[in-house]
């Protein structure tokens, strides 16, 4: 079973969000890192870039595959996790902690409310498995 912390919000594209005020910290879920396998490369946007909700803002690559990463909320990238340039494997080891990817200043912080709760994301994963 994959780890799904209660205090986060989730998207159906397997990203997690930690919302604090109008800032969202974003990464990929335990389920996503497990499905990808060994992460060898993370491509992140530049600080100051703006994205609409559901835009791809970067990509994460394993030995075998590439997956785009989408932001479920609109806003401006205010910080990126540059440590992932040298240690992309942290995404596997600690997806909800040191494996975070970007911080986004949300245009509309209400947008995060519509995302899945931990419970809803767990149900979504179960329905995907069937």
């Amino acid at each position: 079973m994959s780890n799904i912390p209660d205090n986060l919000k989730y998207s159906k594209d397997h990203e997690w969000l930690n919302v604090e005020g109008d800032t969202a910290t974003l990464g990929i879920t335990d389920y996503a890192q497990e499905a990808l396998g060994d992460v060898v490369y993370v491509e992140l946007p530049n600080e100051g870039e703006n994205f609409n909700a559901h835009d791809a803002f970067g990509s994460v690559e394993s030995v075998k595959a590439v997956s785009e990463i989408f932001t479920p909320v609109a806003g401006e990238v205010i910080e990126t996790n540059e440590d992932l340039n040298d240690t992309p494997e942290v995404v596997n080891d600690d997806p909800y902690g040191d494996g975070w990817m970007v911080k986004i200043k949300m245009d509309n912080s209400g947008e995060a409310d519509a995302l899945l709760s931990a419970e809803e994301y767990a149900e979504f994963l179960e329905s995907e498995e069937e």
Binding site: G37, E61, V63, K64
Partner: protein
């Protein structure tokens, strides 16, 4: 649950028990990786040993008075040079010189050869071989389901396997084989592989697959710090790519000749095989494109099929591209125009819309210390 339409090797249930992530590989339900992951599997094969289920490969027996002339008629290498107990790498080619499949040819005797072909192409190969047998005194048998094939590869492979057999393994030369027993099971023990490491490929009756596999895992101390690891198809691919070995459908195909893919050494143009004239003409006229190795100099990973640009012009394509887990670089093989196929040549690769720099480097990328 597995797809009932997929073919399975005799080790299918074992892969699932080991936690293998199963995928559809050319119609076969095969493990792409195990819980250790591709990087660990790859590196362990280079530093200790890796175990691979390659039972999906196809075996075709060619027996009879004309076995050697028949296979010489179909394949690019010179079968007459093989002695009993020797194998070689070769290719089945079409009249135009492109490739039906690549294969190993084993010689058991002057009238007994075994062809080992790729899994996904074996039915096509079988039809091709069978349809060209008129006039040859040969008995052909597509025997894939009778065999299991297990590859044990890496610097510890010989020691592990030696503990299970009386056959003196260090006396088997590279690309030679011996009939023997492994843990009492009649086996063909072949000093071959697809990883760039020393190692063996063991062929035995399919019914013995699970026992042989488990014995090799036990003998290799599976589960210990530097013990043997079962390896999936992803590690098999990255290992062969570091060693710059060709993969059918990538470096060679129905659109690519062996000469273009640096396989001139398996094309013995003095023998008369299907496709010989086309290859001789290609050699005479000179190649217009060549397969080269490249290393990314920009951050980023080139993948199979990505376009190559030289001087802002689309000039070729990546045949295989991947991170190289042991070398810790991003590497690949690609076709480029012959005039640019020089070590040190800078190229650009279109990585999902971004033009990233790479440099042509010598191959193989990885060569083991002897």
């Amino acid at each position: 649950m597995s797809d009932p339409n997929l073919q399975k090797t005799p080790l299918n249930a074992v892969h699932r028990e080991l936690g293998g992530k199963m995928v559809d590989f050319g119609g076969w339900d095969m493990p792409v990786l195990y819980p250790a992951g591709t990087i660990k599997e790859h590196i362990r094969t280079r530093t200790s040993s890796g175990l691979f289920d390659v039972s999906h490969m196809g075996e075709i027996h060619v027996d009879g008075k004309d076995a050697i002339p028949f296979v010489n008629h179909l394949t690019t290498n010179n079968v007459e040079k093989l002695v009993d107990g020797q194998a070689h790498y070769s290719a089945l080619t079409y009249v135009n010189g492109t490739v039906v499949d690549d294969l190993l040819v084993y010689r058991f005797g002057p009238e007994r050869l075994l062809l080992v072909v790729n899994a996904a192409t074996q039915d096509k190969d079988w039809e091709w071989i069978r349809s060209h047998s008129d006039g040859f005194d040969v008995d052909l048998r597509h025997a894939s389901t009778e065999y299991c094939q297990i590859a044990i590869q890496g610097p510890s492979a010989l020691g592990i396997l030696q503990g299970l057999t009386d056959t003196p393994l260090d006396e088997i030369k590279y690309y030679h084989f011996s009939n023997g027993t492994v843990d009492g099971v009649a086996s063909i023990i072949s000093r071959t592989g697809y990883t760039g490491e020393d190692g063996f490929e063991v062929y035995a009756d399919a019914s013995e697959a699970v026992r042989l596999w488990n014995k090799m895992l036990d003998a290799g101390n599976y589960g210990s710090e530097d013990g043997i690891l079962p390896c999936g198809l992803a590690a098999r691919n990255t290992l062969r790519l570091e060693a710059a070995m060709s993969l059918y459908g990538h470096e060679i195909s129905e659109d690519i000749t062996p000469l273009e893919a640096n396989l001139g050494w398996i094309c013995k143009l003095t023998t008369d095989f299907i496709g010989r004239d086309a290859l001789a003409e290609q050699k005479r006229a000179g190649l217009t494109r060549k397969l080269v190795g490249f290393e990314m100099t920009d951050r980023g990973i080139a993948r199979d099929g990505f376009d190559i640009y030289i001087d802002d012009r689309k000039s070729g394509f990546v045949t295989s591209g991947s991170p190289a887990p042991f070398l810790k670089k991003n590497i690949g093989l690609a076709f480029v125009p012959a005039e640019f196929a020089n070590i040190g040549q800078e190229i650009k690769i279109d990585v999902r819309g971004k033009m990233l720099a790479a440099e042509i480097v010598p191959t193989p990328f990885y060569k083991r210390a002897k």
